[in-house]
């Protein structure tokens, strides 16, 4: 004899199956409408842990990208200023060569000296270049102009390093030490650019044979070595700029692959979810159908 099946058992089974079908449907529905596979830690604790790590990575990458953008802007401003200083220096060298020529009289030399002094001021002007309101050549004293226009030639910044984080544990110094290039002017007699320029102007005005000799030899070689130093500094800035660009491209790729991974971890596979949805829906409908039939059926309908 098989087991007795009572009416309560039947209706309980129907109810339970309907509940289960309903529960599965609502789960799939939640996934479909939110587009997320994971809405709670218990949905898949391991995947949730991984998604949290990926999110952390992703937020880090985005921040590094912002840092790279900021650093690139800084490097561009630096590069532009140094390029203009180079132009100024080229002009100064031309003037120096012309001024060293004995055929120029004192008046012509005075004019050249005046122009050299103006060029000196514009070098200082360029050294005061800013990026986003910050002086790029002041070390970490970014709110202090490195050189006073029309004032003394002493450097007002410091030797601090301004760096940007471009990866976990990787930071790149983005400022260059302009003090090593321009120096503190004549007072310091440090043979740096400002000192050289001031000396050139002085020698032009001096007019003695010693001055003329200096113009032709020492001043020219000092200016040339200053130009070499400037080229070296520009190379440093260029390589920083390159490094930032490479890092930016790498971060773009990383962001894309992390996004892809994150999406695979926590986003719903729509095709799969939709197929599940229609399967579950038809299961639910047939459960409703058969349930409605079975629960109503009874011997009472047939007894007379």
């Amino acid at each position: 004899m098989s087991a007795r099946i009572t009416n309560t058992m039947l209706s309980r089974t129907v109810l339970r199956d309907l509940n289960n079908a309903d529960f599965r449907l609502s789960n799939t529905q939640r996934k479909l409408s939110s587009g997320k596979q994971l809405t709670r830690p218990s949905d898949d604790p391991f995947a949730v842990g991984r998604a949290m790590r990926l999110r952390s990575d992703l937020e880090g990458i985005r921040q590094y990208k912002r840092n790279v953008d900021d650093g690139s802007g800084w490097a561009t401003a630096t590069e532009a200023a140094l390029s203009r200083i180079t132009d100024v220096l080229q002009r100064a060298r031309e003037l120096l060569v012309a001024g060293g020529n004995d055929s120029n009289g004192p008046v012509a030399r005075e004019a050249i000296a005046t122009e050299i002094e103006e060029l000196t001021e514009s070098v200082k002007q360029e050294a005061n270049a800013t990026y986003g309101g910050r002086y790029v050549f002041s070390g970490t004293a970014t709110e202090t102009a490195p050189y006073a226009i029309g004032g003394a030639d002493t450097y007002a910044g410091n030797a601090g390093t301004v760096a940007r984080a471009i990866g976990a544990g990787v930071s790149v110094p983005i400022n260059v030490d302009v003090h090593a290039l321009l120096g503190d002017g004549q007072g310091a007699a440090d043979n740096k650019l400002l000192d050289t320029m001031r000396d050139i102007a002085e020698n032009l005005r001096g007019g003695t044979p010693a001055d003329a000799e200096a113009l032709r030899n020492t001043d020219l070689s000092r200016l040339d070595s200053n130009l070499d130093e400037l080229t070296r500094v520009r190379a440093v800035v260029g390589s920083t700029s390159n490094r930032l660009q490479t890092a930016g491209r790498r971060l773009d790729e990383l962001e894309e692959s992390s996004l892809d991974l994150l999406s695979k971890t926590e986003d719903v596979d729509m095709a799969e979810a939709l197929v599940n949805y229609s399967t579950q829906k038809s299961a639910y409908e047939s459960a409703l159908h058969s349930g409605a039939d079975i629960v109503q059926m009874s011997l009472l309908d047939f007894l007379r």
Binding site: A3, R4, I5, T6, N7, T8, M9, R12, R16, L38, T39, R40, P41, S42, D43, D44, P45, F46, V48, G49, A51, M52, R53, R55, S56, D57, E59, G60, R62, Q63, R66, N67, D70, G132, G133, R134, S138, G139, T140, A141, T142, E143, N158, G160, V162, A163, R164, A165, A168, G169, S171, E266, S298, L299, L300, L303
Partner: protein
């Protein structure tokens, strides 16, 4: 001949009465088809004592026994006590796991992970705040933004801690309302004790109180969801109920001993205790949250104070999560160990804490909550299906099947009709004997 002329009438009457009783029982079953805890009953019929006819009753000269119809021997309820024991064991497991799942749901929702509002996300914004500040250390707006983000983070941590504390308190309150004086356990125990008394007295008068048994079994089922229940039968119709790990029996005869102290009762009460007790589930989550908050504050402070500045976070030791606050204003945020405004070494170093120990502690806490929750939920589903299986088997024995009752009803009705017909034919036979016999030619 000792056989009475009217013996056949008596036999037919017995048949009528027995079928009527059976119909009564069927009707009782149908009426209770959907009563919870009801066990179907049946009238046990048996042929009544035969009439002895002395020697010479049959052709061989031997005596005989003449049937006298039917009697109701007993009214029996169909129930398998073994299934009751099984059911109560599974119901206890299910009660415990269901309570655990409900408590854990509050905890899980409090975390609101993964999502935009979770602490993980705010932590990311906090690190980004430091790195943005490193990009523009001179900018007061960046400082202010960082301080606001940090305040948001500390508020969220404190809010999570207090939500966890509330989850623990709710579990404790539910335990108190169920197990306390006047709670559900006490009420059920009181009712069982009363039923014990009624059942004992009906048994002593010889009647089997089937429906009272059902009622008591139902109460024991309900009790078994709360904690481990052991039922012993002293033999006088009462039951002795042991409850969880309580020292004295909950019900003994007509005496109730409640409230008592429970330490590991199992069932719903056990789960509530485990959630709320010191060192329990919720307390361990709070401890983990505390160590996360402490690690966060310590690691940030260590770097922030390295330049001689004030600590960034402050907290009370031992309650780090609930007391974590930002100790500095926007102007006091240190970005560099050196004086100049453009330095950013400290800000960079703090920003590099992204993905460090504190963050890992938090994400492992979230994973732990998720694992505990999904384990409890799986266990609950499992226990649910086991309870259903036992319930099915019990229902298969004790449940009322309307089809069966209908069939029985037809059977008893027909038997009743047949008995009545037998009585009619006797009546007609007697009519011939009494009214017509000997009246020849009239």
């Amino acid at each position: 001949m000792a056989v009475s002329t009217f013996g056949g009438l008596q036999t037919a009457l017995r048949g009528l009465l027995a079928q009527q009783r059976s119909l009564d029982v069927t009707s009782h079953n149908v009426a209770n088809a959907s009563t919870p805890g009801f066990s179907r009953q049946e009238a046990v019929l048996s042929a009544s004592a035969a009439l002895k006819i002395p020697a010479g009753a049959v052709q061989s000269g031997a005596g005989a026994q003449l049937g006298t119809g039917v009697d109701v021997l007993a009214y029996r309820r169909l129930r398998d006590q073994f299934l009751d024991v099984q059911y109560r064991g599974q119901a206890m497991r299910l009660g415990g796991l269901a309570a655990q799942v409900r408590g854990m749901e509050t905890v899980e929702v409090a975390f609101s992970e993964p999502g935009e509002n979770g602490i993980a996300n705010q932590l990311q914004e906090f690190w980004s705040g430091w790195e943005s500040l490193a990009n523009a250390p001179e900018n007061p707006a960046a400082r202010q933004a960082l301080v606001e983000k940090a305040r948001g983070l500390t508020t969220s941590i404190a809010a999570l801690d207090s939500q966890l504390a509330t989850a623990g308190e709710e579990a404790a309150a539910e335990y108190a309302s169920i197990a306390g004086a006047g709670g559900e356990v006490g009420q059920i125990a009181g009712e069982i004790a009363k039923l014990n008394e009624t059942i004992r007295s009906s048994l002593s008068s010889g009647a089997a109180p089937n429906d009272l048994y059902d009622r008591r079994d139902l109460l024991l089922d309900q009790l078994s969801e709360m904690a481990q229940v052991t039922v012993t039968d002293p033999g006088d119709g009462t039951v002795e109920v042991g409850f969880g790990d309580a020292a004295a029996p909950l019900v003994e005869g007509t005496t109730v001993t409640w409230p008592q102290t429970l330490t590991e009762p199992g069932g719903k009460l056990g789960a509530l205790l485990k959630l709320s007790e010191p060192g329990g589930t919720v307390a361990s989550y709070r401890a983990a949250l505390d160590s996360f908050a402490k690690e966060l504050a310590d690691s940030v402070n260590a770097i922030h104070t390295s330049g001689g500045g004030p600590p960034f976070f402050s907290y009370v030791a031992g309650a780090a999560a609930s007391t974590l606050t930002v100790a500095v204003g926007a102007a006091e945020v240190e970005t560099s160990a050196e004086a100049p405004v453009g330095g950013n070494d400290i800000a960079l170093a703090i920003g590099a804490l992204r993905g460090s120990a504190a963050e890992q502690m938090y994400s492992s806490l979230v994973s732990r909550v998720g694992t505990d929750m999904s384990e409890a939920r799986r266990g609950e589903e499992n226990a649910q299906s086991l309870v259903l299986a036992v319930q099915e088997r019990r229902e298969s024995t004790s449940g009322v099947s309307l089809d069966e009752e209908m069939t029985n009803m037809v059977r008893f009705q027909r038997a009743y009709q047949a008995s009545a017909r037998a009585m009619t034919s006797f009546d007609e036979a007697l009519d011939v004997l009494i009214n017509r016999t000997g009246r020849v030619g009239l």
